[in-house]
Symmetry: C2
Subunit: 337 residues, 2 copies
């Protein structure tokens, strides 16, 4: 069954990095605020599945996102292993100030090593989401990134609507890559191209990430790189949604385009459910299941991750969208028939 | 944004063939029997979406599958355009006799042009599903295929558990391809390799379909071939399930391995929900959405297909698993935010 010498050999990385964003992107989107102690329980459990990157919370105004008003308390109470890199989302300098104040406490109370900033590639989405123009957002983030880097924090910039905008339609790749280059220039060591409303298709994913690698000087995966953090060069991350069922197909396309870093959410929590009722982020369990079956290392124990999603489902009291949560890992003995 | 000259150009067919299997595979799996007039309504609507292949029903014992006991009546009442090729599933010679008796009536009452036979590649699944050994099934199907071909019917053979068996685990590719070769030798013009319980991963899909093309003499897609029915050579079809969210990723892998023929089910109806609660077939709307966005022709009007799934959801009175049914086509204006 070896495909060697066949017409279309499929190049794949040996290992990939996964950032779990459910505690921020998922918890933020729940209509009922999850009690702090349950957040802490879930984050502590996620940090023991083998995941090495978790986006734990966000420093935003409590009036804007009351679901994450307990950011400081969550960070003070979680107990995660040293090898897990924790990041927090910050919207502006005020958020960065809070992150820095918390970091002063040091581990284990505030094990933050990274901040994540975000803006949209499309004007209309940025205005609706952040109430400012793309130019204003970029200028603000340049300041935040400069200060964060000076403080020794690792910086990720997420570019929403990189694959299309629900209001404007297609977003020109040169616009996306121009903004990515500006964010890189301002200090971002990692750029995530995000398919915020699930408009990406695999051909587009291959094209945009190959262009991004070329234009931003980001290298594709190499066996040695995938071990842990990438070195000094820019890290390119893919953030896909499963809005039209195509999330993992886009992951496959990104892998082929040299991407070895992904963001996903346990239980398929969160994301941007636009239109209403649609699903958002790809489920971490589905991502880990597919990658493991393909022989690509994630470092994550699938059963442990499924247990986290099951506990979230219990807490939230409704069925979650993750497929592997229901089906179990490949090889799970059939119940029925 | 042109990927020409880049390291990993992605080869894709210009067009693919899709067989809608919901009226058989979906209706058969509903605990409540769908009234005949509603089946007829849905099939007639599906036949006007641009789909050119529909598996409409099955000639099996009414005591085994009461859900499809009205096969003759459905075939007598549907009114589908001439260009839609209708197939029926037959389990044995008795089923073939019924198909032949119905075909005698001629169009429009019984527009059958194809029969589909099936068996499992793994011993345990075949015994549990068909109550006989793989060897016994193969011998029976050889007789059915011989007679069907002699009667001028086009013949498809579906090989279940081609990518893994929920009872036995891995199924050796040489076993799958050996059975496929035997079915081809007995008269099958089309072989579908089916991932009956959603165990396939993209690497395995590429490897198995590339081997199948080599061993069975099936050619991959070429621009001219994808127009309609393949010519005299064997047609290789992929039948994937979305059990662990990986259905469309496997479609992408199959496309790259030269497959241009797929089976799917509107609304994500049916399939083999093992373990209990898991989803089955990939949704036709999700498949058409992804392919269309990739610039691959399907001939199907996505909005019309979504309308069929919406009507099925209304009739069944529960939310169906299809993602695009909820989200709408790419470009659907955001409702929320």
């Amino acid at each position: 069954m070896s495909p060697e010498g066949k017409s279309a050999p499929v190049r794949m990385p040996r290992a990939v990095r996964i950032r779990e964003v459910g505690p921020r992107d998922g918890f933020q989107n729940e209509p009922e605020i999850i009690p702090t102690e349950l957040k802490v329980e879930l984050i502590d459990a996620l940090a023991r599945t083998g995941l090495r990157r978790i986006e734990v919370t966000s420093f935003v105004r409590a009036t804007t996102i009351p679901q994450l008003a307990d950011a400081e308390e969550v960070l003070a109470r979680i107990t995660v292993p040293e090898y897990v890199a924790l990041s927090v989302l910050v919207a502006n300098e005020r958020g960065l100030d809070r992150a820095l104040a918390v970091r002063e406490r040091g581990r284990p109370q505030a094990p933050i090593t990274q901040v994540t900033v975000f803006m949209s590639a499309s004007e209309t989405h940025n205005r609706k989401n952040l109430n400012r123009s793309v130019e204003e957002s970029l200028a603000g983030l340049e300041t935040v990134l400069g200060r964060a880097r000076a403080e020794g924090l690792r910086c990720e910039a997420v570019l929403s609507t990189s694959f299309g905008c629900p209001y404007e339609g297609a977003v020109p790749p040169q616009r996306v890559l121009g903004l990515a280059a500006a964010l890189r220039g301002a200090g971002a060591q990692e750029i995530a191209l995000a398919d915020t409303t699930g408009m990406a298709n695999p051909m587009q994913v291959v094209a945009l990430f190959e262009d991004a690698r070329g234009r931003l000087g980001a290298e594709g995966w190499r066996p040695a790189e995938a071990e842990g953090e990438a070195g000094g060069e820019l890290e390119l991350t893919a953030h896909f949604h499963n809005t039209r069922g195509q999330g993992l197909a886009n992951v496959l396309a990104a892998l082929q385009a040299g991407v070895a870093s992904f963001e996903s959410s346990f239980g398929e929590l969160g994301g941007c459910p636009v239109p209403a009722g649609a699903t958002g982020n790809i489920a971490s369990e589905d991502l880990v299941s597919m990658l493991s079956e393909m022989g690509i290392e994630t470092g994550v124990e699938l059963e442990a991750l499924i247990a986290c999603a099951r506990r979230a489902q219990e807490i939230l009291g409704r069925p979650l969208g993750s497929h592997t949560l229901v089906a179990g890992p490949v090889g799970t003995l059939a119940g029925g028939e």
